[in-house]
Amino acid sequence: MDFNLTEERQMLQDSLRRFLGDKYNTENRNGFIASERGFSPDVWHELAELGMIGALFDAADGGFGGAGFDLAVLFEELGRAGAVDPLLETGVLAGGLLAALGNGVQKTLLGEVIAGSVQLALAHGEPAARYDLNFVETSAQESGDGWVLNGHKAVVLNGGAANKLIVSARSSGAVGGDDGISLFLVDAKSAGIERRSYGTLTGGHSADIRFNDCKLPADALLGQAGGALPALETAHARAILAICAEALGAMETAKDLTIEYLKTRQQFGRPIGKFQVLQHRMADVLIEIEQARSAVINAAGHLEDGDRDLHISAAKNLIGRVGRQVAEEAIQLHGGIGMTQEYDLAHFAKRIVLIDHLFGDTDHHLERFIALGAA
């Protein structure tokens, strides 16, 4: 039993914290969010140079990390800084699927991903799917020696900036079935693709993407036709760990800002941190953040064993509950200033809450935890 970081991960953490601390403040972040892609291409390239994208992949794929605790350390720092760079979308989700399923040719793209010269997005969710990974209505029909895609993908994260998409489509089976889902590697500018891109409350540009008789060559297929669900599940497990760690980092910052505010803000002639009611509510916040940290550790530690899904769902459920409490308490303990966009807390509170809307909310994962326990 050892709860200390390895020396390598400690270094990764230190250098990332230093770098992001330099790049991010409220004004910069709001600027990045308002910019063309919803993040800063410059910061992105520097992150790549620092090796941060490589840290998401294992050595066989040209990286130098990729384990649960690598994701946890890296994303906690992204969360702590309130970074808006699409490492989740390009690196963990689409990049992870490419690494897991790509053939030799397809995987050459990984080099560009790790170098930061290409942006990816996973086009998987659909308007009626909510959080169910096997709910795919988009169809892939074989046609000659290629495929034709038709369908509507909803809220594709980083769908605005992505050069390449990994698209899921049903090549067989009924909607909601586990078999029959295929993945395709597609150029985002292909004919038959209609993208509607939009911002989000916390940075990056997502998109709703429609495929209208989008024709793909045979070699667009990633992995086996119809057998993509297990890889999608793994990619989402990794993504959930990542955003849980990101939420944890964001909560740490929300907590630090609140403690600072409690110490300095004066009301009724003394710092508001002197008021016992605020003290005790802060104590509960501190306790719950420690619980969130433990949930992330559990999820990271079990990412590659048979208890993965149980711990992933436990973490997402707990982080959803704790996140809401921490975000709401941080705003409430700040009072009005906590409501303003020009104060740093706003971004963190929004990010913590919106993470509950990614890859299954707290209720979704509670149900999944129950189902896994009953199985």
Partner: protein, 398 residues
């Protein structure tokens, strides 16, 4: 004990409902239903429609052009307008300043300002909070120094809601620094066009602009703009806070929001079933609905006591705390039900009518912003912490 409204009250309800059917523009109610912001012109349009019917100032005495409704009538009006998605009446002139002027203003002030409020000639905003004085109003620092026939005002106000639209502001200012904090405060009416006033909008975390900072730099205010007596402003402010709290439970808003939530939950699917059939989500809705059913009766009990002339004390603090918790919970469920479609932020959908097809289901665009925006409910207007202290102080008397 009788939970039914009287025949007369039901007749009044029918009258209000008929009026809304006929006069409330669908263009406005649709925006309200979708949680979209209204323009200044739209708010003024609705005020004018109400004023034409004599219903703009339900709480004012008839002698000032008000409808002179009792608490139950006001409640019925509130219920009907909110469930019809009518725009909210902007409270600063009508609900806040009006009663203060009627109680403490000079004859000249009443004659000049009250008709202008009804007619929409003035748009008032409130200058109470300061950067250093939020919940602790008594520590406010904005100074007004008497010089001959005017005051010179210096300082800063903040959280001034809709101040960007206002041409007038009523302010609490410090006119005496030597006495106890509460004793040296006065209540001033200030023309926003006076030289030395600067308004700076504050963008809130949902991207909206509804509050402002207002800076005063050697602003000259004629002494006739003092309400009541100098250094008695604290009394008027407390009077005003009571009036601000008439609809503090927000039952109407919560009811309307709950109806909307259930509609969305019938349409949003999960695992092939509507969300309203998901047992966990149904349980969340049911719990808050049960709380709201009880809160509606708690509210009526306070209103009914008020109609019999009993002044609400700690009760209005109870309504504030529980009412905001319920509204915020409904907002929370409304963002949850949207699932991944709570993530897109299409700001054009919020402020003005958006002609583009919405991303995701109706109301998805406003769900998360409204959840974040309404975190203010437990902060502004006397935070829930202040309310809890009021409640226990009244009972413990320690």
């Amino acid at each position: 004990m009788d939970l039914k409204f009287s025949i007369k009250e039901e007749e009044f309800r029918a009258e209000v409902r008929g009026f809304l059917d006929e006069k409330l523009p669908e263009r406005l109610s649709e925006k309200v239903r979708l949680g979209q912001g209204l323009t200044k012109a739209e708010m003024e349009e609705w005020h004018a429609i109400l004023n034409h019917r004599g219903w703009l100032a339900g709480n004012w005495p008839a002698q000032y052009g008000g409808a002179e409704w009792n608490a139950v009538q006001r409640h019925i009006f509130e219920e009907e307008t909110t469930s019809a998605h009518a725009p909210r009446i902007v409270p600063f002139g009508l609900a806040m300043l009006g009663p203060v002027l009627q109680a403490f203003g000079s004859d000249a002030q009443k004659a000049h300002y009250l008709p202008r409020i009804l007619n929409g000639d003035d748009w008032w905003c409130q200058g109470y909070s300061e950067p250093g004085a939020g919940s602790d109003l008594a520590s406010l620092k904005t100074r007004a120094v008497r010089e001959a026939d005017h005051y010179i005002v210096n300082g800063q106000k903040t959280w001034t809601t809709l101040g960007q639209y206002a041409n007038m502001i009523f302010c609490l200012v410090r006119t005496d620094t030597e006495c106890k904090p509460q004793a040296g405060i006065s209540f001033l009416l200030i023309d926003m066009k006076t030289p030395g006033i600067t308004v700076r909008p504050i963008r809130l975390l949902d991207g909206s602009i509804e509050v402002n900072e207002v800076f005063f730099d050697d602003v000259k205010v004629p002494v006739e703009n003092l309400v009541g007596e100098e250094n008695k402003g604290w009394t008027y402010a407390k009077f005003l806070l009571t009036h601000e709290r008439t609809n503090i439970a927000g039952v109407g808003f919560s009811n309307a929001a709950l109806v909307a939530l259930k509609q969305v939950a019938r349409l949003q699917m999960s695992g092939g079933k509507p969300m309203i059939e998901n047992p966990h989500f149904a349980a969340r809705i049911a719990r808050v609905e049960i709380d709201l059913m009880a809160m509606a009766t708690t509210n009526l009990r306070v209103i009914s006591a008020a109609a019999r002339g009993q002044a609400p004390g700690a009760e209005s603090s109870m309504l504030k705390v529980k009412g905001t918790v319920i509204r915020q919970e409904i907002n929370d469920l409304t963002r949850r039900v949207m699932g991944p479609y709570a993530v897109p932020f299409t700001s054009e959908a919020l402020e003005e009518g958006d002609n583009r097809e919405p991303v995701g289901p109706q109301q998805a665009a406003t769900a998360a912003p409204q959840y974040f925006n309404n975190r203010k409910l437990s902060i502004f207007g006397g935070s829930n912490e202040i309310q809890r202290t009021i409640i226990t102080k009244a009972i413990l008397q320690l």
